[in-house]
């Protein structure tokens, strides 16, 4: 108690200290943060499968506070789930401080104690990150040091444990990453060489990550230390960009891979060429037994260390994103191509305001594997694809401005989605879908805009055909109003041909937003940044508030 009192007294003197010393020193810092809350009331609707929720109202909220003073930063986040919204893991239960840190930066050295997020390369063997909207947070709790010993050399080291809801995972994570910008390094030897004006840039990187978890298994002998290595290379010129990264993991028997002792590996390659008005890009990825977590018994999105997003295009309209693809970390080989061309103003196809055309193709298959019948589980041929198609997507998009007031977008997409395999279910098989979207935006005047979307999905599988209509009216800078109806008109079961309608309006002032919604939400996957979460069907009133200060 005495200690607490002492702290309080010490604190109370801050404002005076600050005034006494004017600028600089402790009291002269800045405090910023943000706040977000989302509440929903749940009603029952048997047609869409919205079940009774005993609390009637549930709410997720959090606030971040960050204090900055010169080279010193500190902050914290308080999170509250009373109780967590449907679709969030129920282990998010209650309210607590979940994140706190202090960072000091001194010229080329930076160290952080407490919580932090970090990524090595593209994240193949280590990415600690947050997607609050999806309930994903594998923040580290420990120590991080970043050091730049000389121009062009960037070193990072991490140690700690990862967040697991309101607790921490069992495994200890240790990692080291080094990145070398060869142009910047060269400039220290050749003072006349300016890396910013160089025609070509070369960047090399390498990382090493290890986890430790005690072996308490009564039968198996499990590796207590599992190491993973990754190397990357990036070549950049004005028009051309090439990136590749390869990762290797020693044997890591885990719940997700069925406790096999096979090594893991992943290869990612991407290349693109672009000039003003035209671009061409391609990427390929091969993932083999690369699910890497700081706890061998973790599953779903918990305690992940490897970040393996899909390389297919990320769709934003409701129906094209109805069947979102997620990488199969245990085994996949895939590729993606995109070409985009902006027909200039005044040409035949460009019309008066130009026309933007994008064609995109992506594909993912399983690996070509042979069961070995021993503790290795299987072996896989490196360059050959398996016979099972996991995902395919061919889509065309045309953006055309008709007049200064009217802009239209046309999208067509053909999609093949192996629902059983990707969503880990059975009896649904593979979905083949044709999807078309028409969008128009009409500017009534400098403040008022009307926008509408018409979408159609034709498929004989799963839920059958869908149609979506959306109308939105915005009044800048404060208001928006929207109504949407998603109609499952082609459902094989007549009683399930339901309308999922909803309406919402919102008010924005600077960095504060209020959104009120009412209606029905279909069961489905919500995806942000390539990670997805299943949201059950719901019906009711919702309120969201967010603010940055």
């Amino acid at each position: 108690m005495k200690k607490v009192l002492a702290v309080i007294l010490f604190c109370l003197s801050f404002p005076f200290l600050a005034k006494a010393q004017e600028s600089n020193k402790f009291g002269a810092g800045e405090i910023h943060g943000n706040f977000q809350m989302m509440a929903q009331n749940y009603l029952v609707d048997s047609t869409i499968g919205a079940k009774e929720v005993s609390e009637k109202i549930r709410m997720n909220s959090f606030a971040n506070l960050n204090y900055i003073n010169g080279n010193f930063k500190a902050g914290m986040r308080y999170e509250s789930y009373e109780k967590a919204l449907l679709g969030f893991d129920p282990r998010y239960n209650g309210s607590d401080l979940t994140y706190r840190y202090a960072t000091y930066t001194n010229d080329d050295l930076e160290f952080t104690i407490g919580n932090y997020y970090e990524q090595f390369g593209s994240g193949l063997i280590f990415r600690s990150y947050e997607e609050r909207g999806l309930g994903i947070d594998n923040a580290m709790d420990g120590i991080r040091v970043k050091y730049k010993p000389t121009a062009g050399v960037y070193l990072k080291s991490v140690i700690g444990k990862q967040r697991f809801y309101f607790a921490k995972g069992e495994g200890i994570v240790r990692g080291l990453d080094a990145e070398f910008n060869l142009n910047e390094i060269l400039s220290t030897f050749l003072p006349e060489f300016n890396p910013e004006k160089a025609r070509y840039t070369y960047i090399l990187g390498g990382s090493m990550v290890g986890k430790y978890q005690a072996d308490n298994d009564p039968i198996r002998i499990l590796p207590e230390n599992v190491a993973a290595f990754a190397g990357r290379f990036n070549f950049i010129s004005d028009k051309f960009n090439f990136y590749t990264e390869y990762a290797y993991k020693i044997n890591d028997p885990s719940l997700t891979n069925g406790f096999i002792y096979k090594k893991g590996e992943a290869l990612f390659v991407s290349a693109n060429y672009s000039v003003k008005g035209f671009s061409l890009s391609a990427s390929a990825k091969r993932v083999d037994n690369m699910d890497f977590r700081s706890d061998r018994n973790a599953d779903v999105n918990n305690l992940t260390m490897s970040f393996l997003p899909a390389i297919s295009k990320q769709h934003t309209y409701a129906l094209p994103s109805f069947y979102p693809y997620a990488t199969q970390p245990l085994g996949e080989i895939g590729e993606q191509f995109e070409v985009s061309y902006n027909f200039k103003k005044g040409t035949k196809l460009g019309g008066k305001y130009g026309t933007l055309v994008t064609i995109n193709f992506s594909n993912a298959n399983n690996l070509d594997t042979t069961q070995t019948g021993n503790e290795q589980g299987y072996s896989a041929a490196f360059f050959s694809k398996g016979k099972m198609l996991l995902y395919r997507d061919l889509n065309f998009e045309v953006v055309k401005k008709i007049s200064p007031k009217l802009k239209t977008t046309y999208t067509y997409m053909y999609q093949v989605f192996n629902k059983d395999k990707v969503q880990n279910v059975s009896g649904f098989g593979t979905v083949f879908a044709h999807i078309a979207v028409f969008e128009m935006q009409y500017k009534i005047n400098s403040k008022k805009t009307f926008r509408a979307e018409l979408q159609s999905m034709r498929t004989k599988q799963d839920f059958g055909d869908w149609a979506v209509g959306l109308a939105e009216y915005t009044v800048s800078p404060h208001w928006f109003f929207a109504v949407i109806d998603q109609f499952n008109y082609g459902n094989a079961i007549a009683e399930k041909r339901a309308h999922y309608y909803s309406g919402s309006f919102g008010y924005t002032k600077n960095a504060t937003r209020f959104i009120v919604g009412y209606g029905k939400q279909r069961e489905g996957f919500l995806c942000v940044g390539g990670v997805c979460r299943l949201i059950p069907a719901s019906y009711g009133l919702s309120l969201a508030i967010s603010s940055t200060f």
Partner: protein, 168 residues
């Protein structure tokens, strides 16, 4: 444990009480579109204003906003000398897509990559798009979350309001 947390919280409240009102961009490392490490303390524009716009290739309203401003950018630069940093928070799934995406559309912004949301977090940004206006002294004078067509007009008014007459 509980007492420790309360103490920590209290320390913070104290810090809040003793804070002077300022509003600078925190120092964070991001990447340029050419792969080089870029510290945000290097976001400078010779005493003229700066706009920072957080976006992603998959974010429709963000692309709408940057497309609308792209048509006006040249005029804005002539009048105010403003420099726009468009910070993409695309992660590894899409970060290789950013350069072709920007070039096809002919955007002239300074593009930065923030694939693990370090700068986004440091500026307490929630959902995107989120726009900051920084005056010639490096102070954040205005910020806006979300985008509705026409919002660029309000941003321009605020931009005109913050031009330092001495520099002009």
């Amino acid at each position: 444990m509980k007492a420790k947390k309360i103490t920590l919280l209290f320390l913070f409240i104290c810090a809040v009480l003793s804070v002077n009102a300022q509003n600078k961009i925190p120092a964070v490392n991001v990447k340029t579109i050419d792969g080089a490490t870029f510290n945000t303390t290097n976001m400078v524009n010779d005493g003229k204003p700066i706009i920072i716009d957080f976006w992603a290739t998959w974010c429709k309203p963000c692309v709408q906003e940057l497309t609308a401003i792209a048509d006006l950018y040249e005029d804005w630069q002539k009048v105010t000398g403003v420099k726009i940093y468009a910070v993409s928070i695309d992660d590894a799934r899409n970060s290789a897509r950013v350069k072709p995406f920007v070039n096809t559309r002919g955007w002239e912004y300074e593009i930065l990559l923030d694939p693990n949301a370090d700068l986004k977090r440091a500026l307490n940004v929630g959902d995107i798009p989120h726009t900051f206006l920084i005056n010639g002294k490096g102070e954040i004078v205005y910020q806006h979350a979300g985008y509705a067509p026409g919002d660029e007009n309000e941003l321009y008014e605020k931009l005109l309001g913050c031009i330092n007459p001495e520099v002009k």
